[in-house]
């Protein structure tokens, strides 16, 4: 794809306060292919949580960036990631979603690999010449790093380490994982669905408070009152909604919306236990840090395709399969040893809003699919406007958090370094490639 075509995908005019994305960025096959090599091959991609591979020889299969991968533990409990393809002729060696295996055997010609990836057996080994080195025929390893149990892979040997990559978002991740005062685990039950829309529409949607009042009117104006609650802090008129909320650029394309925690149906369902946990956070982390952990809610975006939302304690990732089609995987991350009652209530709170059968997500799916259809109307001559809040300190109903993504995206698509600062500041500096 020509650089001039990539450059022409975005208008970022600070003086005029205009930010627009040409809609071919969502529809073009060329853009889709360029994204795979320029972005998904160069970034850290979430593949799951350590609790999903709980013991020695356990594994899950995932397809980050469209590439089949095994994430597993060996017999000693050490974590690995491998390409899920036999080094002989390529058949997948693990064919289940998850399981335990001491040996991965490719059924095609019966080559077998141990849980450290070593080739340990093949029928008729004497047919090969001296050039055949069994030691070098192990499963192809993939770089894997864990941040507090969250597992990421990258297909790029040059990419900086995970902690450096997370950069300014790391502290927010800590805040979002520490809410129960103990380690979290992935709750059994995954939500694996799809949206007939470009993947970038879901990341915009996942940190967009502007759409809540209209797209999710039924949740806030019908469901919340039906739970005996007042929705005005969410959707009230006269400046009552989202008081104290803002959009934040966290650098390197990461971004979030953040503000004082708003009431959810969870609050009333386990008030005593939640109060106990809140008090314990003060003791464990000190009042100031506990305040940041417990009294704020956040929708956090980790570039390029990971979302954490504290209202519902979800982690969600999504991959393009085609310009107009993405696959979405979502889980709940909840404290390991909370009571059965609180666990059930948190799950109910999650499901009331989120997921392909929740009381909100299906409407997001409908909106995004509607956008993708709308884009078919002359995408090379029409633009998506993402200018909200360019002339002020950005609110959560503004669009800074999306611009932060798009600025990083644009630089990587162009093959240019940075910017690490993706804010609206005119003096925005270019940084090192991450």
């Amino acid at each position: 794809m020509e650089k001039s075509s990539i450059r022409n995908l975005i208008v970022d005019d600070h003086e005029q306060g205009v930010f627009r994305v040409r809609r071919t960025a969502f529809t073009s096959q060329e853009v889709f292919e360029r994204e795979r090599e320029a972005i998904f091959d160069r970034t850290w991609l979430y593949v799951g949580h350590e609790s999903e591979v709980p013991g020695p020889n356990s594994y899950v299969t995932r397809t980050p960036g469209g590439r089949p991968v095994i994430v597993s533990r060996d017999g000693d409990g050490k974590l690995h990631a491998f390409l899920n393809a036999c080094t002989h002729r390529g058949n997948m060696v693990a064919r289940e979603r998850s399981g335990t295996a001491r040996v991965f055997t490719c059924f095609y010609h019966a080559w077998s690999f141990d849980t450290k990836g070593q080739l340990i057996g093949l029928p008729g080994e004497d047919a090969y010449t001296a050039a055949f080195d069994k030691q070098n025929m192990g499963l192809v390893p993939v770089r894997l790093e864990s941040y507090r149990g969250m597992l990421f892979v990258t297909f790029d040997a040059e990419t900086v380490d995970l902690v450096t990559y997370l950069g300014g978002a790391r502290e927010t991740i800590d805040h979002m994982l520490d809410f129960g005062g103990e380690d979290v685990e992935a709750v059994p039950g995954a939500q694996n669905y799809s949206i007939k829309a470009n993947w970038k529409l879901l990341l915009e949607n996942s940190m967009d408070a502007y759409h809540a009042a209209s797209t999710h009117a039924r949740y806030f104006r019908e469901y919340i009152p039906a739970m005996g609650m007042d929705p005005s802090s969410w959707v009230g008129g006269g400046g009552k909604a989202f008081v104290g909320w803002r959009g934040v650029d966290l650098g390197n394309g990461h971004a979030m919306i953040e503000g004082p925690a708003l009431p959810t149906p969870l609050d009333a369902s386990a008030p005593e236990e939640l109060a106990r946990i809140r008090a314990a956070l003060d003791d464990k982390f000190g009042k100031e840090r506990a305040h940041k952990i417990a009294d704020y809610s956040r929708n956090l975006f980790i570039y390029p395709n990971l979302i954490l939302i504290s209202f519902w304690r979800t982690v969600r990732t999504f991959y393009p399969v085609a310009p107009g089609y993405m696959e979405v995987d979502a889980w709940a991350l909840l404290p390991r040893s909370e009571s059965e009652h609180l666990r059930q209530k948190r799950i109910e709170n999650f499901l009331s809003f989120l997921g392909p059968a929740g009381l909100a997500t299906p409407d997001d799916v409908a909106a995004l699919e509607g956008c993708q259809r709308g884009f078919q109307a002359l995408p090379d001559r029409t633009w998506s406007d993402i200018s909200r809040g360019m002339g002020r300190e950005p609110l959560n109903t503004d669009e800074l958090q999306m611009r932060a993504f798009w600025r990083r995206w644009h630089a990587m698509m162009l093959g240019e370094p940075g910017p690490t600062d993706c804010s609206d500041h005119p003096e925005r500096v270019k940084g090192q490639r991450v």
């Binding site: 979603r97 039950g189 995954a190 666990r343 499901l351 392909p356 409908a366």
Partner: protein, 161 residues
């Protein structure tokens, strides 16, 4: 009061229920639920999971289900505006036994769904717990276990399955 149900009665009950849903007669449909009922759709990777400790697709008690139905009758469920056309085939009826005043039943289903030029098929098995009340048979647990491996390309489940 423990009533028994034979296969013919189960078939009549579930086929009539399917007609209510295909016709979007949701007030009539929800009147088939007992006061303590749950409406459940397990996750596709844990079809035998327990809704109390597993992230289901749907785990509605009656308070949430009443709200879900009220929303579906309005105009701001964008995922069901315009309303899907659905057609349900319900078959393979089985009365599995009684547990106290509850009758455990199962049936197979295939639901075709048409909306905005998309066609989606939801295939699975109903696993219900029924109770005979003065006004007739009621669902105490109404569970739709999907055989799908993922909701792809469906993307959503925005009508009553």
């Amino acid at each position: 009061m423990s009533e028994t149900m034979n296969r013919q009665e189960l078939e009549t009950f579930l086929v009539d229920e399917a007609a209510l849903l295909d016709e979007w007669r949701l007030d009539d449909w929800i009147s088939l639920m007992a006061e303590d009922a749950h409406y459940l759709v397990p996750p596709l990777d844990k079809p035998a999971g327990d809704y109390r400790n597993t992230l289901f697709l749907i785990s509605d008690d009656m308070r949430t289900l009443r709200s879900r139905v009220a929303q579906l009758k309005g105009r701001t469920v964008w995922a069901e505006n315009p309303k899907s056309r659905t057609r349900r085939l319900v078959t393979n009826f089985r009365v599995l036994g009684t547990e106290g005043d509850l009758t455990r039943v199962s049936a197979n289903f295939a639901v075709w769904r048409f909306q905005l030029d998309a066609t989606d098929i939801y295939v699975g098995r109903y696993e219900h717990l029924l109770r005979h009340e003065p006004s007739g048979w009621k669902f105490v647990e109404r569970k739709a276990v999907l055989d799908l491996e993922s909701l792809r390309p469906h993307g959503k489940l925005s009508f009553i399955l």
